[in-house]
């Protein structure tokens, strides 16, 4: 049997080689289909990895808690509009939930920042020192402020790379410099290592951190001391996140004296929830890709079937001769199936090569990251084989059902 298969593959290749243009045109559908899928999956996968990397810049096992919306005489404010979360909440959570490795808090407002003759409007974040740990901030120079700075409402600031670029001359050392935020002088004690874009597309390096107490007493002018813009917590292990979320809700509901039917006056989300939104987008993309792939493989398959039907007609006499010298129906069936699969497989391989080249070219030309996984290549390979098998079946069966006498007499 193996000699037969081998010979048949060689015969099929020779037949294809004889009629290169026809073979090429026949394979085109498969080539384009497979190529497009490989390239697009590569680009999609690259985008997904980029988003995952962005989500990872948020920190590790991060939980974010926002204050809920207030309702004043039936008018609802936007999320975070209420002052329902306080520093006391954050401290209590830490005390009552051992699962939490850290809790931190922050409050932000955009303010004018001045250094010498340059100024910039950037988001000022009053934070607890733990915030830096939770959100995985590191320093390119200098270092963080401490609990003592928080307790004494020290006028110290940590600035992101974007702020450095906009407020300082090239070569000017930011650490040690004094900048003014709303006319209050702050000493820069650290420059944050750049994180790049967030998963939502905002510039994470356009940021200034100052101690929370300093922010609320000397910069923001908060009406309710201790109210915070967002609370952050982290767990040591990712699998503890769901339980930690449940416990946080329990503790906060109890602290806020919410009764059974009342809605939460806060929102708890984990890093995983935020990532899931992105996954939903890529799933839509995947579904679209599969529709495109199925359509082009269908078209390619029909092309193969068509050319094979022509081939069966052209080679009717040959089929007759083969039957006369002892080919069984299975032999003839196999021959045409192998030819169909050779065509589709060759088309698939060319498509894979072109797809990979296309994806790499996208990276070079457009700068989009692309990831070509071996899985996609295997799937494309198997699919093109399956297309050949499926669409070869009808012509091959037709060939094997020929009457040898009529086939031999065919002009």
């Amino acid at each position: 049997m193996s000699a037969f298969v081998w010979m048949t593959v060689l015969t099929a290749l020779r037949i294809l080689g004889r009629n290169r243009l026809r073979a090429g045109l026949t394979m085109l559908g498969i080539v384009i289909g497979v190529g497009a899928v490989i390239a697009m999956v590569g680009i999609g996968e690259g985008a997904k990895r980029a988003v995952q990397a962005q989500i990872a810049t948020m920190g590790t096992n991060v939980i974010i808690i926002w204050p809920g919306a207030t309702t004043v005489s039936g008018v609802r404010s936007s999320q975070g509009g209420a002052v329902t979360l306080t520093v006391a909440d954050a401290l209590d959570l830490r005390k009552k939930i051992p699962l939490l490795a850290e809790t931190g808090w922050a409050k932000r407002d955009a303010m004018q920042i001045v250094n010498g003759n340059k100024n910039w409007n950037g988001p000022i974040n009053g934070i607890s020192p733990s915030y830096l740990t939770i959100r995985d901030w590191s320093f390119s120079s200098g270092g963080p402020f401490t609990q003592a700075d928080l307790d004494s409402a020290a006028r110290v600031a940590l600035i992101g790379q974007t702020i450095v670029d906009n407020l300082f001359e090239d070569g000017e050392e930011p650490v040690g410099a004094v900048i003014r935020i709303k006319n209050v002088p702050f000493r820069v004690i650290g420059v944050l290592a750049p994180k790049g874009q967030s998963a939502q597309g905002s510039d994470q390096d356009d940021v200034i951190f100052i101690p929370f107490t300093t922010a609320e007493r000397k910069v923001f002018g908060t009406a309710f001391l201790g109210s915070i813009g967002a609370m952050f917590a982290s767990t040591d292990r990712a699998e503890d996140l769901p339980e930690a979320v449940d416990r946080i809700r329990e503790v906060l509901r109890a602290r806020h004296r919410l009764q059974g039917e009342q809605n939460d006056d806060f929102t708890v989300k984990t890093q995983v929830d935020i990532g899931r939104v992105q996954e939903g987008t890529s799933q839509t993309l995947t579904v679209m890709l599969f529709s495109i792939a199925s359509v082009s493989l269908l078209v390619g398959g029909i092309g193969i079937m068509n050319i094979l039907l022509v081939s069966v007609t052209e080679r009717t006499r040959e089929i007759g001769v083969r039957m006369a010298v002892g080919a069984k129906r299975g032999h003839v069936l196999m021959q045409f199936l192998i030819e169909a699969m050779t065509l589709s497989l060759l088309g698939g391989v060319i498509g894979i090569v072109l797809g990979v080249i296309g994806a790499k070219l996208t990276t070079v030309v457009a700068g989009w990251p692309t990831v070509i996984s071996i899985d996609v290549i295997i799937v494309a390979f198997v699919f093109s084989l399956a297309v050949g098998l499926f669409f070869g079946l009808y012509p091959a069966n037709k060939a094997s059902r020929l009457n040898p006498i009529e086939a031999l007499r065919y002009e």
Binding site: F4, V321, M323, G326, I405
Partner: protein, 236 residues
Amino acid sequence: MSSLIECNGLWKQYRVGEVDVDALRGLSLTIEQGEFVAVMGASGSGKSTLLNILGCLDQPTRGQYRLDGIDVGGLEFDRLAEVRNRQIGFVFQSFNLIPRTSALENAQLPLFYRGMSLSEQRGKAAAALKRVGLEGREQHFPTQLSGGQQQRVAIARALITAPSLLLADEPTGNLDTESSREIMTMLEGLNREGITIILVTHEADIAAYAQREILLKDGQLLSDRATRRMPGIVEV
């Protein structure tokens, strides 16, 4: 020992459009191992139908056909394919070589369906081509060979399985006189080596190479006689 071919009351009915055509009408025939038989008759006399049935390409509507003692009448397609592969060699008027395929691979074709190893196939095909005098032309394509040479490739293909029966359907119909003579001399030689040959022709001088001549008319046996040529006498 039984005869190679035993036909009893062969009847073949075709349906052509709305009309039933009886191509064979109760034909009975016995051919012994080693005979060289020419089947003659006008077109429509049933000689092609007879050859198809003898070659196991077709089945009789009624009647019995025993090849080498085996009743092949009731066999299904794939069993008949095996019988053709092992016991029968075909030589056609139009050679029927596979186009754009080397002489060697054409000769190899029947072995292809036997699951024999490639090297063994090639060796046997080369030997068969040598036997028909085509040594050195193994890699030629049919288009690079003359008509006579193509027919010799076809004979090599028929011989490669060492069949007991060689069926030749007007083997010289597309050949010039010189090539015809060559081919017929070759068949004669093969017959002398023991192969049974049944030759369909409508040319009397070709039929004259055979020892026995069967004349068909309207699907029935009209005459069955020995030709003037007796075995062993070679006329040039």
